[in-house]
Subunit: 109 residues, 2 copies
């Protein structure tokens, strides 16, 4: 089928999966790292810096945007992207709770 059965999972699981999926690509991680470094926003510099075509970069940006991880505003001819603080905070909280739930040491496998 190739169709994830989202209806059998709860909202938290689906939301976290969606956010992780949006980040689960080296190009999108690279894009986010670039935005994080030059805290001020960027635009199509990415096309030169990463070795991907403009259409491809634009697509990755769109995915990050629809996931709510970044936001963009028009800045003259180019477009300025930056982190969406709300989603970023949410991601930190959700992931923190998730990863932090593991208390090692209980010997098992």
């Amino acid at each position: 089928m190739g169709l994830t059965k989202t209806e059998i999972f709860n909202d938290e699981q689906n939301q976290l999966a969606t956010l992780l999926k949006a980040m689960a690509h080296p190009a999108r991680i690279a894009i986010l790292q670039r935005i994080l470094i030059s805290n001020t926003c960027i635009c199509g510099d990415l096309v030169e810096e990463l070795g991907l075509a403009q259409a491809t970069i634009s697509q990755h940006l769109k995915e990050l945007k629809t996931a709510g991880i970044i936001q963009g505003t028009i800045e003259g001819v180019s477009i300025c992207y930056c982190i969406n603080p709300v989603t970023w905070k949410l991601l930190e909280n959700q992931l923190g709770a998730f990863l932090g739930a593991y208390k090692g040491e209980t010997k098992c496998c």
Copy 2:
């Protein structure tokens, strides 16, 4: 194409992307949560608890295992899965550094 150009990204980006991708599915998040809760390992209880076929669960477990996030040992007839502490720690560090790199407040978009 449909083929990620891993060669143009660095190891850190590729590794993080691979780990995130392994977790970026609600079923796999549910499986991990289940393992985290019953800190002691589990097996095919998942097939009953999640509403997915046995073959599908087995496939998701395999993905988590090949990504190094979980590990399994034979426990009589069934197989006992649990978190791989090394990878989990790595994930915490990598993600912590990544998410923590965002210092908000610098007004932008």
